[in-house]
Every structure is written in structure tokens, then in C-alpha cells.
Amino acid sequence: MNATMSRYRTMTGHRLFWPAAVLFVMLAANTIYRPGFLSIELKDGHLYGSPIDILRLSAPLILVALGMTLVISTGGIDLSVGSVCAISGAIACMYISKQSDQNSLVVVLTALAMALGVALVLGAWNGVLVAVIGIQPIIATLILMVAGRGLAQLITQGQIITINSEPFRAIGLGHLLTLPLAIFIALAAALLVAAFTRRTALGMIVESVGGNAEASRLAGIRSGRVIFLAYVLSAACAAIAGFMMTANVSSADGNAVGLWVELDAILAVVIGGTSLAGGRFFLSGTIIGALIIQTLTTTVYAMDISPQTSLLFKAVVVIAVCLIQAPAFRARFSRRRRNAPPPATIADKPKEQVPA
């Protein structure tokens, strides 16, 4: 009895348990509503079904949220990711649309390199504003969030640029081993970031900078450089996400690509358990967070929830996720139910003395 109890505690105590449980409940609810929801069939050699859609459509959000996780863990925030998505997509599509042979691999690679290059410059701009000049991250990145969308529209001249390029289309819609290529790109990015942050000291350095940049600097870490890198990486992730979004519909719409994706990304990061105050980050949590957000959107369409109520529906689910994620809320809830003696809450803990 005790052993089961403690195993239950360890399991529910795991930081990924609650987000994963929410994802499971949402998928289960969909399956009850429509038994065929989870079914996957093979069509033209590709897997086809709602779960595959969710994975494919969440790939851009996973990418953006990965970059956002690192930025947030340094204690910052990057509001400009949506605009970077739009700019990179616009540059790539604009370049391809001007070429005579849009299907040439060289053309597409050049377009991607150009767009990625610009995105890195934009990331560096954010990084300089925050790390070198010391502007508040929310203000520094707001500049690019507002100006960037104008820039994207300037590149496309306010038009929707339609292209007809198979290699570019493949980024969003191509398949590898019967699965959409976008899933592999997002997975590769996630593994790369995980390897660099968790197999080397880099992750710990990022967390230490987020915890206390000044103390880290005094301990010998170049805080400024770490923060700068986080913004550059975030812009690079956003650029690749921008390629996926534009490739998905083979057109660049400077006004719509990546619109509000920064908010979804921040939400994914928070659902994943990363602290907005910085100093801790969980990449796997972020990925589950992104999957939850996409599943929520897909659920609205699959269940045909009316547009007027769907925003409220989403809000209720998000609040529920955040509440059951919060240990303080869970502790209070379970205490009431079991009427057990209250465990020490955070407020009762003596404040740690920190020598000035």
C-alpha cells in the first residue's frame, strides 16, 4: 500500500506528469467524441490522420518555443519571433519567386541561406539591445515585433507572394519515412539544443545567468555573451519556423505569417514548467506545451465548436492546465479533499539569508 502510494507520488511529482496528463485527456476526449480521431492510415505512402496533423502543425511552434525557452531562462523574453518568421519567409519566397527555375535546389538553398542570414542579424540586433546596451528585453524586442512586420510587408510589397517550388514546399509538406519532414526538422532542432545545453555546461551557464546575471559574471561567466547568443538562437529557430509556415501554403503573407506566435510560444514555455523569472528551463516540457496548444486548436476544429465559444473554451483549458501545474494549487486542493495536516507552504519557509 505504502509502496504504491509512494510510487504514485513520485510519478505525479514528476514535472512532466501534469502537462502530459492534460495532453492525454485532450486526446481521449477527442477520441470519445469521434472514435476515428486517433486512427492513422497509409495514403500514397504517407501516414495520414489527425495525430500526424497535430505533430506536423506543431513543428513551427516547437521550434519557436525552443528558442523562446532559452531566452526566457536567461530572464528575458523575445516578442519579435513572429515578425522574424514573417521576414524570413518573405525573403525566401521573394527570392525564389524572382528566379526562372524555382525548382532548382541551389535556388532554394540560396534563398534559405539569405533569409537565415538576415534572421541572425535581427537576432544579433535584439541581443545587442538587451545584452550590450541593457534595455529591458520586453521593450527591446517589442521594437522588432512592430517594425519587423512592416519590414516583411515592405519586402513583399504588401502582396501575398505565391511560389511554385517543390524543394521549398518539402520543408512544410515533404515526407521522410512516411512521416512529414517538418516533424524531423523540429525533432532535430530539439535534440541539437538539448545536446548543447544538457550534455555540456552551457545549459547550466544559461540557468545561472538567468538566476543572477551579475553573480554569474562575478563567478567568471560572460553573462552578456550568453544572453546575446540566446537571442540569436531564438531568431534562428524563428526563421526556420517561418520557412515551414510559408512552405506549408507555398506563399508568403507578410501580414499573417507567425502572427501572435510569440504568445503561443510563451504559453508553451510556461505550460512546460519553465519559470518566467528565468534560471530554470525544461525543453521536453516546452515541446509538450506546444503539442497541447496545437491539440487544443485541432480539437476546436474537429469538434466544430462555434467560433464565438472557442476562444472561451481555449481560455478555460489553459487556465485549467496552469492551475493543475501549480504545486501550491494542487497542495491546497488535495489537502481539502483528504483533510490531512497542511504541509509547510512556501510562505512559512524562512527566507534564505543572502549575504549582500
Partner: protein, 330 residues
């Protein structure tokens, strides 16, 4: 420490200049003096923004036809903000332009500034979108598309096509942004028209936000949730174009297995119609420049004009699209 503070000050200054510079770009045409006394009509126009290809074509049409009609145009881009439009209209009043025209970003909150224009004796023409002012004397006329009619034309074509249908015809609908006038009105007009045949039934309706990505994502789920979809009605071409990809990916043939009806008739949409992927488009024309300039001349001369003028619009079938496509401007 002082060095750091100076650096910060410079940075803040630089960013203010940057943002200011971007904002100023949109307003650059509003500067300059008042109306000249050379007999030329001066028109102040405040545009919503540059949010879509449709809007860009609208702006181009207004600029080109002003030049052609010999009207001195002062153009302002409000970047989707009502306060920018109010500011621009006040500027025009101060500059004593002859006619003010604008596409209101939102429907409400215009009474004060329109009253100011009226008091200054400057006639106002609304284009594309209307205002909800109770006092209709605040503006001379409203020139724009009838969104309800567009929806109705689309619905009537479908009713005609499915006249002989004995079984139920399942329709899915891709709406525009929730609450936007074109979305509400097109839905209403379409719904009214298809009520004529009880076999025609809308089985699912979700917003695709007027974008290709939105249309595609919603259509993917529609296809999975509903095994039998006969007709797609999309509130604009872009959502229809996005849905095309979802339909193809599901192994169905757009235009044959699923009849596709859209609104707008932009170039990409017309191409899809000519290629046989769409079946019918109800036009929503952005090219209202020539009509606007005629109206401006009339109200300036003191002639009476109708309070509501519809943009000249048509509908396209696949054959008509093939003919019209080579001359399509936008």
C-alpha cells in the same frame, strides 16, 4: 556608471527615432500646405492599412484614378489604427481640402470628427467599410461592396447547380475573422440563399481568419471529421487556396469531388478557377478608384448623390475566369 547611463539614453533615443521613422513613412503624404487655388479638387484619403493584397490593389486603384482624374490626392495609411485615421482627418480639415474620403478601420466612434468636418463644410465619402453613426447627414455617401449580396450570389449559384439533387448536400464553410463585417455578412447572405433548398445543409463552419494557413488547417480537420463533404464555401480566395492543398492531401479532387465557391476574385483565386480547381467566385472588387473620383467631383460641384453606392461587381464561372484572367490587375 555614467558611461552606462549615457549609452542607455542613446539607445532609447535611437529606438524612439526608429519607431518614429517607421510611423512617419505612412504619413509622409499628409504634409505640405493646404489646397491651392488652381481649380483642382484636393482630396484627403485615409486608408485602413496594407494588410492584404486586396487592400494594396485598392490603394493603387485610388492613387492611379486620382492622377487620371486630375484630383490632387493626399494619402494617409492609418496602419489599422482608428486614432491615426482621426488624426489624419483632422489634418485634412485644417488643410481645408475639398473632399475627405476614408475606409473606417472600425464602425463606431466617428461622430465627433465627422461633425468637425461637417462644420468646416467639407463633404465626406466613406469607401469599402461603413460607420454606425445614427446621424446620416455626417457623410455624403458610402461607396463599397455589399457583402450580404456577395454571399447571396454565391448561395444562389449553388442552389441553381444543385437543383436536381435528391439527397442531402453537405456544405462546409470557412469564415473570415470572427466578428468582421465581411464574415458576418457573407455568412448571412449565403445562409439566406441556400435556405431555398432544404437539401443544402451547412454541416460545419469555422473561422480560417482570411488566411491560406488558416483555411488549410481548418479544412484538414473538416475532411477528417466529415466523411462526406460536397461543397466548400470560403469567405475569401486565400482560405479557399489553402483548403485546396488539404483537399488534395486527403486524396480528393478539388472542383470535382468537392465543389468550391469563394469570394474576392484576386489573381491567384482566378487562376485556380480557370484551372478548374474552384467552381465559382463572387467578386469583391477593390478597384473603386474611378467611381470614387466621379463621386468626389459630383459632391464638390454640390450635386446630390445617393446615400449608398455599390461597387461595380460581378461573378465568375470557370469559363468566364479563363477569359478575364489575362487582363486581371490584382
Amino acid at each position: 556608471m555614467r558611461k552606462l547611463r549615457t549609452q542607455r539614453a542613446i539607445a532609447v533615443l535611437a529606438s524612439v527615432l526608429l519607431v518614429g521613422g517607421v510611423a512617419a513613412c505612412g504619413n509622409s503624404d499628409t504634409g505640405g500646405g493646404g489646397s491651392k487655388d488652381d481649380g483642382k479638387i484636393t482630396m484627403g484619403f485615409s486608408q485602413v492599412g496594407a494588410e492584404s493584397g486586396w487592400r494594396t490593389a485598392n490603394t493603387t486603384s485610388i492613387k492611379e484614378s486620382a492622377a487620371a482624374a486630375g484630383i490632387d490626392l493626399k494619402f494617409d495609411d492609418a496602419q489599422q489604427k482608428q486614432e491615426n485615421q482621426i488624426k489624419a482627418i483632422r489634418n485634412y480639415i485644417q488643410q481645408k481640402v475639398d473632399v475627405i474620403a476614408f475606409s473606417p478601420v472600425v464602425e463606431s466612434g466617428w461622430d465627433t470628427v465627422l461633425k468637425e468636418a461637417k462644420d468646416a463644410g467639407i463633404p465626406v465619402i466613406l469607401t469599402d467599410r461603413s460607420v454606425d453613426s445614427a446621424d446620416k447627414s455626417l457623410y455624403k455617401t458610402f461607396l463599397g461592396s455589399d457583402f450580404v449580396k456577395e454571399g447571396r450570389l454565391a448561395g444562389e449559384w449553388l442552389v441553381e447547380q444543385k437543383k436536381g439533387a435528391t439527397g442531402p448536400v453537405n456544405i462546409v464553410e470557412l469564415q473570415g475573422n470572427t466578428g468582421a463585417a465581411p464574415a458576418n455578412d457573407r455568412k448571412k447572405g449565403f445562409g439566406e440563399a441556400i435556405a431555398a433548398n432544404p437539401n443544402l445543409k451547412i454541416i460545419a463552419s469555422q473561422p480560417g481568419d482570411f488566411t491560406r494557413a488558416g483555411g488549410k488547417q481548418v479544412m484538414e480537420q473538416f475532411l477528417k471529421a466529415n466523411p462526406k463533404i460536397d461543397v466548400l464555401f470560403a469567405h475569401n480566395d486565400d482560405m479557399g487556396l489553402g483548403a485546396l492543398e488539404a483537399i488534395t492531401a486527403a486524396g480528393k479532387v478539388p472542383g470535382k469531388d468537392i465543389t468550391i465557391i469563394t469570394v474576392d476574385a484576386v489573381k491567384d483565386g482566378m487562376q485556380a478557377l480557370a484551372d478548374g480547381k474552384f467552381n465559382f467566385i463572387a467578386e469583391c472588387s477593390p478597384l473603386l478608384g474611378p467611381q470614387l473620383m466621379d463621386l468626389a467631383k459630383k459632391v464638390h460641384a454640390g450635386e446630390e448623390v445617393p446615400a449608398r453606392i455599390e461597387t461595380e461587381e460581378t461573378t465568375f464561372t470557370q469559363e468566364q475566369a479563363k477569359e478575364a484572367l489575362p487582363n486581371r490587375k490584382y
